[in-house]
Symmetry: C2
Subunit: 486 residues, 2 copies
């Protein structure tokens, strides 16, 4: 496994044209709650297609001329991201872990510094992990124009043709065409997120484009512009990259150094200050999928304008987004509504109020509700656990362990556990003894005993864990080794 | 237990004034899905108050002058009803089981015949188990007037003052006052459920009242009127009562005889044909709670007109009914909506389309979905079972057994079971051996073994059952005795 995420040797591709997709996976997507939560945010869900948004994003940058992608992400998402890339057939990738969130400028600076170590002339294609692009042919064309200008020292933004008076995005005013760079323009000005009236004006001018946040520049250009306009960002990330560690297949930025970087976006830090900004006007069917309404907007609909996903029954309903990831959900007599059901939460909102979902999540968080940030199912490198029921002095979980994986050697001081294997086979270590537990067999782990769970088989192991005890918190665990972080 | 539901000896109360509450618990309340389902319909839920609707109904008929109630119900609900009455402090009741549903006339005929066996002059106060009455003081007054007229040979309906042009009820046109019966009028005419325009007219006349379905008459009057106007109903129910059985504390009408009774309402069979119909106009705050909208209508609301029950967060929401019996439910930006969440289904509807819920239930039923008719939790006389998860070749249930109760001796041919006790103590019989299983202990029941579960303790027994096998249907069970119907 150890070489799976090593960088591709730069020498194998022509240095001038190589494009490194840099995927920023920083957001928590709280406006897409209850599916998207901080511990498993929207880019990791299959919201727009059968693939997750991260997978869709990464697959846009596969093929001739592309280096393996670099993903900059929250360290808590590392295993999910590694697994999703592998599942999408992307065997090589560099996953850069942010010890804390510091907005986009430090994340991009780190990516540029890492790429520059082997190829300062490589072009970084910086993009969010959670945007949708419908017209990939147009994307390829725009990218080609942008990469060419990037080779000329430009920082080239993608300006999306606006389709509505959107107040949630910044705008780019298109300037004169760049001589010798077909399809690439100077940036006349940046406009902040407008109010409603101003957004209507901007929509009319024909010169204002949405700032998608996606851009290209060489590593060298980016580093030089950071040096000029955001030297504190560059200095802190240079230290964070210089003192980086590797953790399994991941690049872990030095926590103290990275934490010292200013919390600032690349727009404020560089794009709006540089003399080398350029823009490629594009019409890519781009969406930031920033709300359930935005997702309804880009999804395929039935004759009544409904998007219905999962176990859903509709009656006299139109222009609705109805999604159930679990239990049966019936909607009657509604228009312009959003209904989202997960196994532990339900959201119902008007499409035009879909931004308010963020407020709900804030209220839930303030109330200390775990549903605000985490799912009932908790993914680990070795598989997942899922809570089934919690009682007075007991709880029941489903535990699924992938073939060949094992958990840490551990003990609990406040609970005993019964494990019943219902699929596959478990190798259980209990106080030094090794016990093979087959389907329909069980094993008892008394309070305080040292134990380990392992799947020695070729198919996933599923077991039902019944915990009994006076305290059943996840923190009642002593790990006696650390084979993987679980 | 055997005398708990015996009739009160008629001799202990003055025969002339005795009132027997006859509670009809026949409906399945599908318009209040997903809370109300055929196996556990709306009258058995605490929808209007902390008590179930059946309990509220039964408690209206407790006190001086009332005999113990008689409940006529679907035999599948008998344990639930017995338990709810006991929980409400009603220790004496006669529970009459309908082997099949035959509408209200045969049910009421059976009640009249049973009462007439000991006291033909007793007044039957016939009412649905699933209506709400806000003004109980006004009810007592109206009832007193009606009982007096019933003693005079009248069949006295309660006509409710209409508050809206309702198309879902039949109407009674009030005639002249009955001489010597203060507050009681002749019935001028019955009006069928009107269309919208006609309903508006009826609302204006001041002479038309809603037919609530509630009425009083002596057993003798009812039997005589049945003999005159519905002799086939009377003949069939006479046989069904004559050949009745007793099953534990229940009166079980003879299935073949009762099934032969015509399927007809008491309105069509008797009330609209008799020469002795009368009506007490009343303003009782009556509601048939026929839909979620009707329930919203009679429920206490917050300043925004919302009814919020359970784990519910509202934001910019008004005039909504939001209820969660389980997972957290957030509603934003909605008006006039109904959101109802149970542990296995979600309903979202516009208040004004709340009648369509019935259509949803019909579609679910047509699709063979168990959610249409039954809940995840299945109540038995000894406790309940609740499905937690179903997998490929396994399922997990929570089983709760009341103190002192036991299940039948049984075996399964396609599944083995692991039982883990998480609260209380279990006495398990396995192939003749008796095993005491304490909290945090488990027992294994191999495929085919003869076993029984019993709670010998003083607190409820909770166990987690993990079933493994190739077929996990409820019908893989051979009962080797029948201590109670489970």
């Amino acid at each position: 496994m150890s070489d799976r995420f090593d960088p591709a040797p730069a020498a194998t591709q022509p240095a001038a044209s190589i494009v490194v997709p840099v995927i920023l996976s920083g957001g928590s997507g709280s406006r897409l709650w209850p599916v998207s939560r901080a511990s498993f945010p929207k880019q990791l869900w299959p919201l727009v297609s059968d693939r997750t948004m991260l997978q869709e994003t990464a697959l846009r940058g596969v093929g001739a001329g592309f280096a393996p992608p670099m993903v900059v992400c929250n360290h808590e998402h590392r295993f999910l991201i590694a697994e999703q890339l592998r599942a999408a057939g992307i065997e090589e990738a560099r996953i850069v872990l942010e010890p804390v969130g510091r907005n986009s400028a430090p994340a991009i600076a780190a990516a540029a510094l890492l790429v520059a170590e082997t190829n300062p002339g490589a072009v970084l294609w910086v993009m969010a992990a959670d945007a949708a692009i419908a017209r990939t042919d147009a994307l390829a064309q725009s990218l080609s124009l942008a990469v060419s200008a990037a080779g000329d020292g430009k920082l080239v933004l993608f300006g999306m043709k606006p389709t509505r008076p959107e107040t949630g995005y910044g705008y780019i005013e298109v300037g004169a065409p760049l001589p010798g760079q077909d399809g690439v323009h100077a940036v006349a000005a940046f406009a902040e997120k407008p109010n409603d009236a101003r957004a209507r004006e901007l929509l009319q001018t024909g010169r204002h484009l949405w700032n998608s946040g996606m851009f290209v520049a060489t590593a060298a250009t980016l580093i030089e512009e950071l040096r000029l306009h955001a030297p504190e960002v560059l200095a802190a990330t240079e230290r964070a990259v210089g003192h980086r560690g590797t953790d399994l297949d991941f690049i872990r930025l030095d926590p103290a150094s990275f934490a010292a970087a200013p919390d600032i976006s690349i727009d404020y830090a560089v794009a709006e200050r540089t003399a080398h900004a350029a823009v490629v006007p594009a019409d890519l069917g781009w969406s930031d999928v920033g709300s359930w309404d935005a997702l309804w907007d880009i999804s395929a609909k039935d004759a009544d304008g409904n998007v219905a996903i999962g176990d859903v029954f509709l009656e006299h309903t139109s222009d609705c987004y109805v999604r159930s990831d679990g239990i049966v959900t019936a909607v009657t007599g509604l228009q312009d509504a959003i209904v989202v059901v997960t196994d532990d939460a339900v959201l119902v909102t008007h499409r035009h109020q879909a931004q308010d979902v963020k407020k709900v999540v804030e209220r839930l968080r303030a109330a200390g509700r775990h549903e605000a940030v985490a799912h009932n199912r908790s993914y680990r490198p070795w598989g997942f656990t899922e809570g089934l029921i919690e009682g007075e002095r007991f709880q029941v979980k489903r535990i699924v362990v992938k073939p060949g994986e094992r958990l840490s050697l551990q003990r609990h001081f406040h609970r005993a556990e019964h494990w019943v294997v219902v699929a596959g086979v478990a190798l259980v270590t209990r106080e030094g003894e090794q016990i093979l537990v087959r389907e329909n067999e069980s094993v008892y782990l008394p309070l305080g005993c040292v134990h380990r769970l392992e799947n020695p088989g070729r198919i996933p192991l599923t077991l039902i864990e019944v915990q009994s005890g006076s305290y059943l918190g996840e923190d009642d665990i002593v790990r006696l080794d650390e084979p993987a972080s679980n």
